[in-house]
């Protein structure tokens, strides 16, 4: 039986229209309602042609109510229904919402904490620090979190997000200000989240998960924009902590439940789509509204998850270095659907933006930014692969003009997980990391081998494209010192 490496049919129709932008022309005969717009470079082009991601860009262009273009970021790769790196803005009155356009890991995202410590002093205690973090931040399949939430408490997490965390003493008011949506998405209705999802989430709050999730202690390795870096609290040689995780089993189950629900609803209405994973419902329908209310709950869960891990991280630093301030620089989501105001055909209107493996990138002076970032634009974190650089960016006006305020989320995979595990064994990778002075702790071997640096596209090239296309500006580059993985 064939695997999923069929050839893309859309690949032959892709043409370069300007530096860093390739287009899939609008073709109503194929059911497309808008064109496809893919941010790429010559270097990244072969990767985009190798799997079915361009066909997925074309499929998304068929969705009712999609505005302007089916957009994809330079770290594009094949996903479920939507490509990963996909952005689609919908008219809320005539358009659909699709759980596949958000992803299974609802509100998977990244937060960055800054510290007053330098790389040299942290290196002296790096092994101990990574040891404490590995002990105190549960990671890996089957791991349980530090809390088992009662049903009532879980409902409060889902309803209130970081407001719950603040009332419990896990978050400061500054943490809430430096988080998308203030860490609490409005319209969250816990009764729209299934019992199955709540059962999965009940013991998982405060856990990292596995796969490509991680906690990294990093050093600021290079600064590209000194004024922006300073405003973000970053200085050369300074140590920061990056946390990448999402809504764990709760979010995965919400996505599963609503894909199933919408798939059934579409079958009953005799609507067929080229891909069952594109199951969707009108934004204003009961199914659409229920999904958004449940999605908001999962988003709130994810923010609390990252907050609890940040809390444990702050405790770990205190254990090793004494009282230390680790302020939150920002927290960004890269699997989410948001109601935002954007210019469409010269008029500002409310739209629903799906970002699946894409990060919000608001420019300077955007009204939704906290006061501290009004002049700089929104901080954006682009995690690289294990053992390689991550980047800090700032949103630029081009994002509002060309991508509904969005940029990439991280490097896309080039090697499949099974191929990655065959290519380098655990000991070789561990030796490689050690040579670079990186202390890595993973809960499982596949946590290291499947995330081997070779398995990912070079994030520097992906960042190069989003900067070249005017979507964001590079602010700093971060280098890993210590890694915790599942």
């Amino acid at each position: 039986m064939a695997g999923s490496t069929s050839t893309s049919k859309a690949a032959s129709r892709l043409t370069r229209s300007e530096p860093f932008v390739w287009r899939l022309p609008l073709d109503p005969s194929r059911g497309m309602r808008v064109e496809g717009r893919v941010f790429l470079s010559e270097a990244l082009l072969p990767g985009a042609l190798k799997d079915l991601s361009l066909d997925q860009v074309a499929n998304v262009a068929m969705l009712p109510g999609i505005l302007e273009a089916s957009i994809a970021m330079p770290d594009i790769h094949q996903g479920y229904g939507f490509p990963i790196g996909g952005v689609a803005a919908m008219d809320p009155d005539t358009g659909v919402v699709s759980p596949g356009g958000v992803g299974f890991d609802i509100n998977c995202g990244v937060r960055l904490l800054s510290t007053p410590l330098g790389a040299t002093e942290v290196r002296r205690f790096l092994t101990e620090l990574v040891g404490v973090l590995a002990a105190d931040v549960p990671a890996g399949t089957g791991s349980k979190g530090p809390l088992t939430l009662s049903d009532t408490a879980l409902d409060e997490v889902l309803r209130q997000g970081l407001e719950w965390a603040a009332s419990e003493g896990y978050a400061t008011r500054e943490d809430l200000a430096c988080c998308e949506e203030g860490g609490r998405m409005a319209g969250a209705l816990p009764e729209k989240v299934s019992l199955a999802a709540k059962r999965r989430g009940q013991r998982q709050l405060g856990t990292l998960g596995a796969g490509n999730h991680f906690l990294e202690v990093q050093a600021v390795d290079e600064i590209f924009e000194p004024a922006l870096a300073k405003a973000f609290g970053l200085r050369l040689g300074g140590v920061v902590v990056m946390i990448h995780t999402g809504s764990r089993g709760l979010g995965h189950q919400v996505a599963t439940d609503y894909i199933r629900l919408m798939d059934s609803a579409m079958a009953r209405a005799n609507i067929s789509l080229p891909d069952r994973q594109l199951a969707c419902a009108p934004v204003r329908s009961p199914e659409g509204r229920d999904y958004l209310a449940a999605m908001a709950c999962a988003c709130n869960f994810a923010w609390c998850n990252r907050q609890l891990i940040a809390f444990r991280t702050r405790e770990a630093f205190r254990k090793i270095f004494g009282p230390t301030n680790l302020p939150l620089v920002y927290d960004v989501a890269h699997n989410i659907a948001k109601f935002e105001r954007h210019l469409v055909g010269g008029q500002e209107k409310l739209v629903l933006v799906h970002r699946k493996g894409a990060t919000r990138a608001f420019p300077p002076h955007h009204r939704d930014l906290p006061e501290s970032y009004r002049e700089t634009g929104q901080p954006i974190f682009i995690p690289g692969d294990m053992g390689r650089y991550s980047f800090v960016l700032a949103g630029a006006p081009g994002a509002m003009e060309r991508s509904f305020g969005s940029v990439c989320h991280g490097a896309g995979r080039v090697l499949s997980r099974t191929a990655a595990r065959r290519r380098q064994n655990f000991y070789e990778i561990e030796a490689d990391l050690k040579r670079q002075g990186i202390v890595a702790r993973a809960a499982s071997r596949s946590g290291i081998t499947e995330e081997a640096p070779d398995a990912y596209k070079d994030v520097a090239e992906v960042v190069n494209v989003v900067e070249g296309a005017g979507l964001a500006r590079r602010v700093a580059r971060l280098r890993p010192l210590g890694v915790i993985k599942g």
Binding site: T5, Q78, G140, G142, G249, Q253, S416, T418
Partner: protein, 144 residues
């Protein structure tokens, strides 16, 4: 393919995630092989003992939804309750409905080595159908 008799399962490559192809002489046997495939993705070949049992009833509007819901129940049992299956007693209840007694035990981080963090079952290129001889063949991809 690994597995007993005419059936079994094999792991499939995918750009970012993972899948299995599976087969069985009957629908219940094919579903059993799909379940064994999922278990192997979760805990590899860690030995799983029969210490307790769980009964599940699953249905779907077609064979694909049945497969989606069947594997979804098993994943839920694992992720929410830490239950891993060693043996399955599956009976069909009608078209696209099954009742199964699952024998297994709770996940033990010492004895069970986790392999993949399976997040969800997907409909991506999903297949499940009988061939001319009545044997069932299927394929499913998981988000990890």
């Amino acid at each position: 393919m690994t597995g007993r008799g005419a059936g079994g399962f094999a792991v499939l490559e995918h750009p970012a995630d993972i899948g299995i192809a599976f087969s069985g002489a009957s629908l219940p046997e094919a579903l059993e092989q799909a379940a064994r495939g999922l278990t192997s993705l979760l805990v590899g070949d860690s030995p799983v003992e029969e210490r307790r049992s769980l009964v599940v009833t699953v249905e779907g509007r077609d064979s694909l939804e049945l497969l989606f819901n069947w594997l979804g129940e098993l994943l839920l049992a694992f992720d929410a309750d830490g239950f891993i299956c060693a043996r399955f007693k599956i009976e069909t209840l009608g078209d696209n409905a099954v009742r199964a007694e699952l024998l297994g035990e709770d996940f033990d981080p010492v004895r069970h080595q986790p392999v993949h963090d399976v997040k969800a079952i997907t409909y991506h290129q999903m297949e499940l159908a009988p061939d001319a001889k009545g044997a069932w063949h299927g394929r499913v991809y998981f988000d990890i």
